[in-house]
């Protein structure tokens, strides 16, 4: 027997977090489809309908982002994204070599530290750079002409090229991110444990350290789960 580790179940993703994640996933998927149709890559809804749906999905995503920013600050979850170099190299090595040797995950997932150092960096980049750039370029795209006082006003952009290029480039980067992201889901304890965690909130982990509590009992109440987290 090679695997002597105990399997433990840990509560990682709370209700709102899962709702946010899946809503965002759906909206981004939908924005990509309608967006690339607007780009002229293919025809599905028809241009007019695609623009309409893209704009509505964009507003839905913006509202979701606003709620989520609020959630991050009220719950203190924003700290999850504080970057750290600790174990960063180890995490990279895990993906490059360790995973093939069935080496253990170098970082341990808990409710208070659910992101590995690599994820911290990537998601921080998404949140403070990528999403703001996409949202801002999208809003400018939407409002570079706008009606005001019985006339059509302009934001004073020389032309749309730059904004459109940024927004398109961002869309490609987002697609590439999603591709890698979806693949990395399979690198958890089992192929589906990460996916199940984002659906149920509970993730199966391998407990390499037997001195740690074998299971962290937590329920949906944030206060008690935080306490549970603190004990680890």
């Amino acid at each position: 027997m090679l695997h002597m580790d105990n399997e433990i179940r840990v509560y990682i993703y709370r209700g709102y977090e899962r709702f946010w994640h899946w809503t965002q996933a759906f909206l981004i998927f939908f924005l990509a489809i309608t967006g690339f149709e607007i780009h002229g890559s293919f025809s599905l809804f028809g241009f007019e309908q695609a623009v309409d749906l893209h704009n509505k999905a964009a507003w839905a995503l913006i509202i979701l982002i606003i709620f989520t920013i609020f959630w991050h600050f009220t719950t203190g979850e924003w700290r999850q994204y504080l970057p750290t170099t600790q174990n960063l190299k180890a995490q990279l090595e895990y993906y490059v070599t360790g995973i093939f040797r069935n080496a253990p995950h170098p970082t341990r997932k808990t409710l208070i530290s659910k992101l590995n150092p690599l994820q911290r960096l990537v998601y921080l980049g998404l949140k403070i750079l990528f999403i703001p750039v996409m949202v801002m370029s999208g809003l400018v795209y939407m409002f570079y002409r706008y009606p005001k006082d019985g006339a059509i006003e302009s934001l004073g952009l020389a032309d749309l090229h730059g904004i459109a290029y940024i927004h398109t480039l961002g869309a490609y980067i987002m697609l590439a991110f999603v591709l890698v992201h979806v693949y990395l889901i399979t690198t958890g304890h089992t192929l589906t444990s990460n996916l199940r965690a984002m659906i149920t909130g509970w993730e199966e982990l391998t407990d390499h350290d037997n001195d740690k509590p074998s299971a962290i009992e937590a329920d949906d109440k944030p206060s008690s789960s935080e306490e549970a987290g603190k004990t680890t």
């Binding site: 209700g15 241009f47 509202i63 979701l64 093939f100 302009s154 090229h161 459109a164 890698v180």
Partner: protein
């Protein structure tokens, strides 16, 4: 579970509400209904001219009719003397030329080329009597032909080759008692027949508009608005709104759709935003020459051919001239798709004295200014008339030939079929030099389309322009049109990025599978 429910409620409910609020409410376009109501009221004349004593007589001389008109309308004569319909030229400031006095009087085109030396026939369409040559008195208001615009009897007619005088034998007593506001056939008498035949020149102005359905022209259609020309082309003191840029240069006295329809004509916000860069005509005139064909190409170089010594003509099955010995070869188009260009309402013209730039062919007979970065410019649909016309191979200038004369051996091409004589006589008439060497050069002329507006359901759809290839605006490369425009570099980079990501994932997954399989074997 309760918390999840609370979260869903607190997020989804506002999301749904906000999306509903942001949705464009299905507002009804009440403006159109108001316009329909306003323009369906019949025009009621304030005067019955048959009751005027001064008109209860026979007239032998058309100048006497003008005098009779002016005896009541005392100031109208001097108004008309200042009018472009009368002078066939206007003062305009043209960038690079300064103040110019240009118009049909002295400009060339690539249809019948120009009026100089041909006034006897061309000026049948002048609102005057007797402009046969340079001696015409533009300051004499008794030379004005009031009837060509104001005859409501339908009986008035000007003579061919009559320099604007009416055909002999008209019943003026009846005609003068039935004058009034200009009707479509008054304007159409000249404007439908520019270039020498019905719909030859404009493509969107032709006799079919007198009887057409609203599918052809939603404004003038007999089952549409039934509008008269002057309902839109309103006039103050005989100064009419509306410009034809074959002869105009200024962005003044123009007639815009917005004057009735406002700049917020749509209930859809996105469509209204288009009006800042796209003229109404672009979407709402998807085709022109919807009934009869219009001339698209006129090759003068093949004129003067004879068949067994005689001039001849070739017609197509619809009766359109494909070749005539006096004019050359023609191409026609029916239900034509416009070309699209930026236009800011100002234009320049190629003058008879301008030197042809062989590096910039075809010669632009008129240049319409504008571009995406010009805030005053919008995209307009245009008929572009192309052709070949004579030029001086030594002086590199366009030549004005003499085309028409009442007699033979006066140098008129249409009479004698002799190019050299026609070119020499035409240029002599203008006191311009002709080297004696001529050839034919490609020219083009831009005619913005304003009529034959289709019902809204037949307007262009988004995907007519917002499409990767083959869009209506495919030739405009200075504007970013979503769906059509793209950066090839970004698309290549993006696809490369996706391929790299996919490749990385597949490689990584394969390696995982192989190492996993090996471990499994070892474990067994």
């Amino acid at each position: 579970m309760k918390n999840i429910l609370a979260f869903f409620l607190s997020v989804i409910v506002p999301l749904v509400i906000i999306t509903l609020v942001l949705r464009d409410a299905g507002k009804e376009n009440t403006l159109l209904a108001e316009l329909r109501e306003e323009y369906s009221r019949p025009h009621v004349p304030s005067v019955d001219h048959s009751k005027h004593e001064v008109l209860q007589r026979d007239f032998d001389n058309p100048h006497e009719i003008t005098a009779a008109c002016l005896s009541c309308h005392t100031e109208r004569g001097s108004e008309v003397l200042g009018n472009a319909h009368w002078n066939w030229e206007r003062a305009a400031y043209i960038e690079g030329r300064g103040v110019t006095y240009l118009g049909k009087k002295n400009l060339i085109n690539n249809f019948c080329t120009g009026i100089a030396s041909n006034e006897g026939t061309c000026n049948r369409c002048h609102i005057g009597y007797g402009w046969r040559d340079g001696s015409f008195d533009f300051s004499n208001q008794y030379n004005i032909d009031c009837l060509i615009c104001h005859d409501n009897s339908g009986m008035y007619d000007k003579a061919r080759g009559g320099a604007g005088y009416p055909v002999p034998g008209l019943d003026f007593r009846t005609i003068v008692q039935r004058v009034g506001r200009p009707q479509k056939d008054n304007c159409g008498y000249c404007h439908f027949h520019g270039g020498g035949g019905n719909n030859v020149k404009h493509g969107d102005l032709e006799m079919a508009l007198l009887t057409a359905s609203r599918e052809v022209d939603v404004h003038m259609g007999v089952d549409g608005g039934r509008l008269e020309c002057v309902d839109c082309h309103t006039a103050t003191n005989h100064q009419m709104l509306g410009r034809y840029y074959g002869v105009s240069s200024d962005n003044t006295q123009r007639l815009h759709c917005e004057q009735c329809h406002t700049s917020f004509p749509h209930t859809n916000r996105k469509l209204n935003e288009h009006t800042i860069k796209v003229a109404c005509q672009t979407c709402h005139i998807p085709h022109y020459a919807k009934v009869n064909a219009t001339k698209m190409y006129w090759d003068w170089s093949t004129a003067t051919r004879r068949d067994e010594g005689l001039p001849y003509q070739v017609l197509d099955t619809l009766g359109n001239e494909l070749y005539t010995s006096i004019k050359g070869d023609f191409h026609w188009a029916q239900n034509a798709v416009p070309e699209y260009y930026w236009f800011n309402g100002t234009a320049d013209h190629h003058l008879l004295t301008d030197i042809i730039d062989l590096d910039d062919l075809p010669v632009k007979i008129n240049t319409l200014f504008g571009g995406y970065h010009d805030p005053g410019a919008r995209i307009y649909p245009m008929k572009v008339h192309r052709g070949k016309q004579p030029y001086d191979t030594h002086y590199m200038t366009i030549i004005q030939p003499k085309l028409w004369d009442a007699e033979v051996n006066k140098g008129a091409l249409w009479v004698d079929l002799d190019w050299e004589a026609a070119l020499r006589t035409g240029m002599e008439y203008l006191n311009l030099t002709y080297s004696g060497g001529h050839d034919f050069i490609e020219t083009e002329m831009f005619l913005p389309l304003n009529h034959m507006v289709s019902p809204s359901g037949q307007a262009l759809a988004c995907s007519d322009c917002h499409v990767r290839s083959g869009g209506r605006l495919a030739s405009l490369d200075d504007v970013y049109i979503p769906g059509q425009s793209r950066s090839a570099a970004i698309d290549y980079f993006g696809v490369l990025l996706l391929i790299t990501a996919l490749g990385g994932v597949v490689t990584h997954a394969t390696a995982r599978y192989i190492t996993f399989a090996r471990r499994k074997v070892r474990t067994i």
